[in-house]
Symmetry: C2
Subunit: 254 residues, 2 copies
């Protein structure tokens, strides 16, 4: 990266800072190591703290750093691969599904989910909350929306609460024949509730995976909206049909 300030390149300071820091992370720091605090880093680079923070924010977005209030800034491990697209399609909660049921409520879904389900906007559905933990860290939170029509044999509403009820809904789902599914991935920001569960601040970047599950009759039997921590996760769509979560040392290609 030689000197080339002679071109029409008034490179922003934070961008240059990010590059310098990124190279320093590669060569001079080990995973888990804590960096000097923001005030000292800013002084060392001769910039305002806000400018230094702009660079740190980018590096955190790229999964290179992890910042925690009251603690400090540490060098993040490489992103973990999380398998979300498997060849063997199965209902959520099938054998080997690593998601952990948390609880289950019954209420009206958001307008967007209602549209995907094809149900009326006022019609209540079962909403199963599940979470995905990998390497001791919560990496994703899911809201699984199941219309009552999909689980007709569900025991009465009072059939337990919390995780027990969630498991009951998932068990009933297995009785349906799954015909296919449909996935979309987009960038979002964590709602306050998800942020708490993912140990992030509200608004943290997340990858939102929306999955529609179809029955043999072609109807949408359930819709899952899963939010993955964008800073620590790389979603993998292997053809290998393996649900296992694996942690590897591959870095973002670029």
């Amino acid at each position: 990266m030689g000197t080339r300030q002679l071109e029409t390149v008034p490179e922003p300071k934070y961008w240059h800072l990010k590059t310098v820091l990124s190279e320093a992370l590669d060569s001079e720091f080990a995973v888990g190591e804590i960096l000097p605090n923001e005030r000292e880093l800013a002084a060392r680079f001769g910039v305002a703290r806000a400018t230094l923070r702009q660079a740190l924010e980018q590096l955190e977005l790229e999964g290179r750093l992890q910042r925690r209030r009251g603690v400090g800034t540490t060098v993040a491990p490489p992103r973990m691969g999380v398998a979300v697209g498997t060849a063997e399609q199965a209902w959520p909660g099938a054998a080997g599904d690593p998601w952990q049921p948390v609880d289950c409520t019954e209420s009206a879904p958001s307008a967007a989910v209602a549209r995907l389900l094809g149900t009326g906007p006022e019609e209540a559905v079962h909403i199963v909350r599940r979470s995905l933990v990998a390497h001791g860290q919560a990496v994703a939170a899911e809201l699984l929306h199941v219309p009552a029509a999909s689980v007709p044999a569900l025991p009465g509403i009072a059939a337990g609460a919390g995780a027990a009820r969630a498991r009951a809904v998932l068990r009933e789902l297995q009785h349906l024949e799954l015909d296919g599914q449909d996935r979309a991935v987009e960038l979002g920001s964590a709602r306050a509730e998800d942020a708490r569960e993912l140990d992030r601040l509200p608004g943290a970047p997340v990858l939102v995976v929306t999955t529609r599950y179809f029955t043999a009759s072609g109807a949408t039997a359930a819709v899952s909206v899963a939010t993955y921590r964008a800073d620590t996760c790389r979603l993998t769509f292997d053809a290998s049909g393996d649900l296992a979560i694996h942690h590897d040392e591959e870095r973002q290609a670029s």
Copy 2:
């Protein structure tokens, strides 16, 4: 969502601002409409411009707004769905592939790509640049890495330049038998080069899709690194096997 300021919930101003603006966008603004400028909005809400900008940044990240220097802030259309996972797996450049070849160079890949390819870190590969345009807007830029061993019958190095050479490499790829592929999606920030092509500023959030293509012998024959504009794209992994880009009115479910 009643009033609950009595709890220990000192909600940040920018977060509240974002909520207010978001609701205003839903009810009072049409797609494409320009908002008042930042200085006026900040004054109207009684906050500093930096705080107002923090809210706008979040909304832009969520694909609700589009900001352009020298122009203004406009209400963004819903994200377009871009199909990236198709049941009928095919080599890049196959019939119906909407990607447009731009040019082709021959150089050493990044360390990360070299690892995926299984080639030596110094070994040069063909790097085909392609771009994806939808609705008159560039939505993605791709670097397709093809080791020389994958296209042995390629005419001499001087066989054209630019798009012509890119097409030649793609044509040769079709002669190989494709056995499978492997995808990963993660959040990244646009390199300066990608940012220019995507009409964004450097560092803009992008969805990075890394695809490995395998030959029947199990070797990695090519690696594609595609960066999609995270603000305007929703990646779809339909089982329908349709490469078409469709624009629909679905909003992020949340």
